[in-house]
C-alpha cells in the first residue's frame, strides 16, 4: 500500500481541462518531482494534494486514509511556496513556530522545536530577525523550516527555487534534498527545470497538457523517454527525420548515409533522437559524417553543430588540451553507439 | 467572510450611500405639490445670482487649473531632472494642505494680506480674486502635484530631455512640445479633481467674501425650501462628471502605455 495515492484525478477551470486522469502512487519517504512546462497542470495537482483545489473526479489518500473531502488544515501537509510567503509581521522564530502555536502546543515545546528546525536549516542565530532582513535563500530555508516544524506527513514544494539566483538555487536544492533524506519525509516537488528534477528526485513525473506522459526514475526518463514530448522536454535532444530501408535490421537512410540500428523497425519514415553527449568525435562503432556549421567553445564542453544530410545535429565534447575544436566548414566524421539512438513514436 | 455576509455588507453600504442621493433628488423634484416637476431647477437656472456665482466659480476653477499647472508641471519636471534629492521635501510640502485645515490658512491670508499689510491683496477686488485663486491652487496642490509627478515618472524624463537638447530644442520647446504632451493625461486627471474641489468650495470663498457657488449654495439653503436641493443635485452631478472623467482618462492612459 503506497503512502500517498492519487487516483484518477480530473480538474477543469471553466472550459479548460487542466488535469486529466492523473494517477500516482508515492512510497513513504520518496522524493517525487512533477516536471513540465508552465500550464501543464503540475501546480494544480500539487494544489489538489494540499486541498486548495477540489478534484472534479478522483480521490487522494494519505497513509491509507481518504482525504479527498478533508479541509486543508486537517491534511497534515507542509507546503513551501515559490515566493517564500513568510508572514512579514512575525520573526523567524514566530514563523517557524506558527503551525505548532495554532495547534495549541505548549510554549516550551514550541521553542525547543523552533531551535531544532533553525539548526537543521543552518540559521540558528537568525531567530529574532524579520523576513525582510533576510536574503531570498535564507527566507526560503525559513519557509522550509516552517513547513516542517509541525511534522507533516507530506511535504509539498511549489517551485521553491525559481525566485532565487542561479548559484543559491543549486546549493539550496542540495540542502533541501539532504534535509528531506534526513527526515525521511514524503515529498512532492513541482518544477519546470529539468535539471532540478533529475538531480533531486527518486522518481520524476513528466507532465504535458494535464497528463502524466511518463513516471520513472531520472535515468529512465532521460534515457528511455516514453513520448516525443518527454524526449524533447527533458535534456537536449537532436531529432533526425530518416527513412527505414530495411525493417529487419533496422537500417535507416539519412540522405546517402546508412545507419544500422540493430532492431526491427516498421518500414517508412521514422524520427530518431540523439543526445549531444552520445556522439563522439572518435570511436564507433557506427559513424556519420557532416559539415561543421558552428563550433562553440563553452569551457568544459565544446558544442559543435554539424549538418548531416540537410539536418543540424549538436554534439558535445569534453574540452581537451590535446585536441583543438573542429573548424567551421570542415568535414567531420563522428561515431555513435546504435543502441543510444532513440526511436521516437510519431507525435500523437 | 462568507459570500452571503459580503453581499449583506455591500448592500447595506450601498443603501446608506444611495438614500441621501435619492432624498436629495426627490426633494429637488417636489416643488409642485402632489407631483414631480423640474420647477426647482427652472427657478434656479433662471436665477441671475445662480448664473453669476456659477460662472464665477467656473472661471476661478479654470484660472486655478491653468496657473496651478504652470506652477506644478515645470517644478515637478525640474525636480525630477535636476534635483531628485529635493523630491521628498517637495512632496511633503504638497501634502501639507491636507494637514492644515483650510479655515486656518484662509485666516492667515486675512491677517497677512489685509489692507494695512505690505501686500494689501484684500484691498481690491482683483487682489482678493487672486488671493482666492492662490488658496484654491493650494487646496488642489496635493492632487495636481501627485498626478503630474506620477505621470512624469512613467516617462523617462532625462532621456527625453537629452534627446531634445541634442536636437537643439530650448527649454520652452522642451516643456511645451515634449513634456506637456507626455503628461497631458496626468495634467487632465489632476485638473478634473481640482475643478470638482473648486466648484464646491465654501470656506475660503465665504471668508474672503467672494460670490462663489459654494457660499451661494449655503445662502440658498438658509432661505429657500426646494431650490437648494436642485443645486445640490447639480453639484453632485458636477463632482460625478469630474471624477468619472478623471478615472476614464487614467484608465485610458494605462491601456495606451505598453506594459
Amino acid at each position: 500500500m503506497s503512502f500517498l495515492k492519487l487516483s484518477h484525478l480530473e480538474k477543469s477551470f471553466g472550459a479548460s481541462h487542466v488535469v486529466r486522469n492523473f494517477n500516482l502512487e508515492v512510497e513513504r519517504g520518496e522524493f517525487i518531482s512533477l516536471l513540465g512546462p508552465s500550464g501543464c497542470g503540475k501546480t494544480t495537482v500539487l494544489r489538489m494534494v494540499a486541498g486548495f483545489e477540489k478534484p472534479d473526479v478522483g480521490s487522494i489518500s494519505i497513509a491509507g486514509k481518504d482525504v479527498t473531502a478533508l479541509g486543508v488544515r486537517r491534511r497534515d501537509i507542509g507546503m513551501v511556496f515559490q515566493a517564500y510567503a513568510l508572514f512579514p509581521n512575525l520573526t523567524v522564530a514566530q514563523n517557524v513556530g506558527f503551525g505548532l502555536k495554532v495547534q495549541g502546543t505548549a510554549r516550551s515545546e514550541i521553542s525547543a522545536r523552533v531551535q531544532e528546525m533553525l539548526a537543521l536549516i543552518g540559521l540558528p542565530d537568525k531567530a529574532d530577525r524579520y523576513p525582510y532582513q533576510l536574503s531570498g535563500g535564507q527566507q526560503q530555508r525559513v519557509a522550509l523550516a516552517r513547513a516542517l516544524a509541525p511534522r507533516p506527513k507530506v511535504l509539498l514544494l511549489d517551485e521553491p527555487l525559481s525566485a532565487l539566483d542561479a548559484k543559491i538555487r543549486v546549493s539550496l536544492r542540495n540542502e533541501i534534498r539532504e534535509i528531506q533524506k534526513a527526515l525521511g519525509i514524503t515529498t512532492i516537488f513541482v518544477t519546470h527545470d529539468q535539471e532540478e528534477a533529475l538531480s533531486l528526485s527518486d522518481r520524476v513525473v513528466v507532465m504535458h497538457k494535464g497528463v502524466a506522459d511518463q513516471i520513472g526514475t531520472p535515468f529512465e526518463v532521460y534515457n528511455a523517454p516514453a513520448t516525443r514530448f518527454v524526449a524533447g522536454f527533458v535534456g537536449t535532444l537532436n531529432t533526425l527525420e530518416a527513412e527505414v530501408i530495411d525493417a529487419a535490421t533496422g537500417t535507416v537512410a539519412l540522405g546517402a548515409q546508412r545507419l544500422v540500428l540493430d532492431r526491427p523497425l516498421p518500414p517508412g519514415p521514422v524520427t530518431l533522437g540523439l543526445r549531444p553527449e552520445m556522439l563522439h568525435m572518435e570511436g564507433g562503432p557506427a559513424y556519420l559524417t557532416g559539415r561543421v556549421m558552428a563550433s562553440d567553445f563553452l569551457g568544459s564542453v565544446v558544442r559543435v553543430r554539424v549538418d548531416v544530410a540537410g539536418q543540424i545535429l549538436a554534439l558535445d565534447q569534453f574540452n581537451s588540451t590535446r585536441r583543438a575544436p573542429p573548424r567551421v566548414g570542415e568535414e567531420l566524421r563522428f561515431g555513435l553507439n546504435p543502441s543510444d539512438v532513440l526511436v521516437i513514436a510519431p507525435a500523437g | 467572510m462568507t459570500r452571503a455576509a459580503a453581499w449583506a455588507i455591500l448592500i447595506l453600504g450601498a443603501i446608506y450611500f444611495i438614500l441621501p442621493l435619492m432624498g436629495m433628488i426627490e426633494f429637488s423634484l417636489s416643488m409642485r405639490r402632489g407631483e414631480y416637476s423640474l420647477d426647482a431647477y427652472r427657478i434656479v437656472l433662471a436665477d441671475p445670482q445662480f448664473r453669476r456665482t456659477f460662472g464665477y466659480s467656473v472661471m476661478m476653477a479654470i484660472a486655478t487649473i491653468v496657473v496651478g499647472m504652470l506652477l506644478v508641471v515645470p517644478t515637478a519636471y525640474w525636480v525630477q531632472l535636476k534635483l531628485p534629492r529635493l523630491r521628498p521635501l517637495i512632496e511633503f510640502m504638497t501634502l501639507l494642505p491636507l494637514v492644515i485645515p483650510a479655515i486656518v490658512v484662509v485666516f492667515g491670508y486675512i491677517r497677512l494680506y489685509n489692507t494695512s499689510s505690505w501686500l494689501p491683496l484684500t484691498g481690491s477686488l482683483t487682489g482678493t480674486n487672486i488671493l482666492l485663486m492662490c488658496g484654491y491652487i493650494m487646496l488642489g496642490l496635493p492632487y495636481m502635484y501627485r498626478a503630474v509627478d506620477t505621470g512624469l515618472r512613467a516617462v523617462d524624463v532625462a532621456t527625453l530631455t537629452e534627446a531634445a537638447q541634442s536636437l537643439g530644442a530650448g527649454w520652452g520647446t522642451i516643456l511645451w512640445r515634449l513634456i506637456l504632451p507626455n503628461v497631458l493625461v496626468a495634467v487632465l486627471s489632476g485638473a478634473f479633481v481640482t475643478f470638482a474641489i473648486v466648484m464646491g468650495e465654501f470656506t475660503m470663498a465665504a471668508l474672503l467674501n467672494r460670490p462663489a457657488f459654494g457660499p451661494y449654495l449655503q445662502l440658498m439653503g438658509a432661505n429657500r425650501a426646494y431650490e437648494p436641493f436642485a443645486l445640490a443635485t447639480i453639484a453632485f452631478a458636477i463632482t460625478w462628471a469630474c471624477i468619472g472623467a478623471m478615472q476614464l482618462f487614467t484608465r485610458f492612459s494605462r491601456q495606451g502605455r505598453p506594459t
Binding site: - | 485666516f107 492667515g108 493650494m138 465654501f202
Partner: protein, 292 residues
C-alpha cells in the same frame, strides 16, 4: 600623512539648478507656510507684539473647551465608524468572493463620494434625515417610527457623524483597498496548511499586517472630519458649537472678536490635526517597511 588641511574642502557653491524651484518655493512660502506661521506666532503674542501665553490660556474656557470636545467626539466617532465600515466594505469586495466587476464601480463611486463634501452633502442629508426628509417621512408614515421621539436630530452629534460618514467611508475604502490587495494569497494558504483557522489567520497575520494602515487611515479620517467646516455650517448653521464653526464665527466677527483668541483657536486646530497626521505618516512608513 598627506598634506591635507582641515579646510581643503571647497566651499559649497551655489547650485543654479535651485533657481528652478524658486517660483514653487515662493508660492508655498507665501500662501501656505507664512499664513500658518503667522497664526502660530500670533497665538503667542499680545496685540502689540510681545510674547504671552494668555491666548492659549484663553482656550481653556468652558465654551471653547466644549466646542473642541464635541469636535473631537464627532471626529473620533466618524473616523472610527468610517474606518470600520470602509474596511468591511473593501474586504467584502476584495476578499469576499463577490463578482470582480463590482470593484471598479465601487472605487469610482468612492472617488466621487469622498470628494462630495461640503454644502451639497449637508443638503442631501437634510433631505433624507431632516424633519421633512425622505427616510424620516417613510419611517413615520409606513412604520410608525418617529425619529424625533427617539431623540434623533440631524443637527446633533449623531446627525453630523452620520453625515460625515458619507465622505469618511469612501476615503477609507480608497486607502485600504490597495493594502488588502497587498495581502498575498500564499499567506492565507500557508496559514491554513499549518493548521490555522480563518479567524487565527486574521488575528495572527492579516490584521497585524493591516494594523498600521488601519490606524494611520483612522488618523487621517480624524483630521479630515476635524477640519470640515462647510458641511457643519450648512447643516447646523450655528446651532452646534464645534471648533471650526466657532473659528469661522470668530473670523467673520460674528462673535465679538478678540483676534488673539482667534489665533489661539486656529493654533489648537493645527496642533490637533498635526498630531493626527504625524501618526498617519509614522504608521504609514512602518506598514510600507513590512510590505516590501
Amino acid at each position: 600623512m598627506t598634506d591635507q588641511t582641515p579646510h581643503s574642502r571647497p566651499p559649497r557653491r551655489f547650485n543654479p539648478a535651485w533657481l528652478g524651484v524658486l517660483p514653487f518655493a515662493l508660492f508655498v512660502s507665501m500662501f501656505l507656510i507664512a499664513p500658518t506661521l503667522n497664526i502660530v506666532i500670533g497665538a503667542f503674542q499680545t496685540p502689540d507684539g510681545s510674547f504671552t501665553l494668555a491666548n492659549i490660556q484663553g482656550l481653556f474656557t468652558r465654551s471653547i473647551m466644549s466646542s473642541y470636545w464635541i469636535s473631537i467626539k464627532i471626529s473620533v466617532a466618524s473616523a472610527a465608524i468610517g474606518s470600520l465600515v470602509g474596511f468591511l466594505m473593501a474586504t467584502a469586495v476584495v476578499l469576499g468572493g463577490l463578482p470582480r466587476g463590482l470593484r471598479a464601480p465601487l472605487m469610482t463611486f468612492s472617488g466621487v463620494a469622498s470628494n462630495f463634501a461640503g454644502v451639497p452633502l449637508a443638503f442631501a442629508f437634510l433631505a433624507t434625515l431632516g424633519p421633512l426628509g425622505l427616510v424620516t417621512g417613510v419611517l413615520r408614515t409606513e412604520f410608525g417610527i418617529n425619529l424625533r421621539a427617539y431623540g434623533f436630530n440631524i443637527l446633533s452629534f449623531w446627525g453630523l457623524t452620520i453625515t460625515y460618514l458619507f465622505f469618511q467611508i469612501p476615503l477609507m475604502i480608497l486607502i485600504i483597498t490597495p493594502a488588502l490587495d497587498g495581502l498575498k494569497r500564499e499567506w492565507r494558504e500557508a496559514a491554513s496548511c499549518l493548521g490555522a483557522t480563518g479567524a487565527q489567520y486574521w488575528r495572527m497575520v492579516a490584521l497585524p499586517i493591516l494594523f498600521p494602515t488601519i490606524i494611520g487611515t483612522f488618523a487621517l479620517l480624524f483630521a479630515n472630519a476635524f477640519g470640515a467646516v462647510a458641511t457643519a455650517i450648512a447643516l447646523t448653521g450655528s446651532s452646534l458649537n464645534i471648533a471650526p464653526i466657532m473659528l469661522f464665527a470668530q473670523i467673520r466677527g460674528d462673535v465679538l472678536g478678540d483676534p488673539q483668541l482667534g489665533y489661539a483657536m486656529a493654533f489648537g486646530m493645527i496642533v490637533i490635526t498635526a498630531v493626527a497626521n504625524v501618526t498617519y505618516i509614522v504608521l504609514r512608513i512602518r506598514s510600507e517597511r513590512w510590505l516590501k
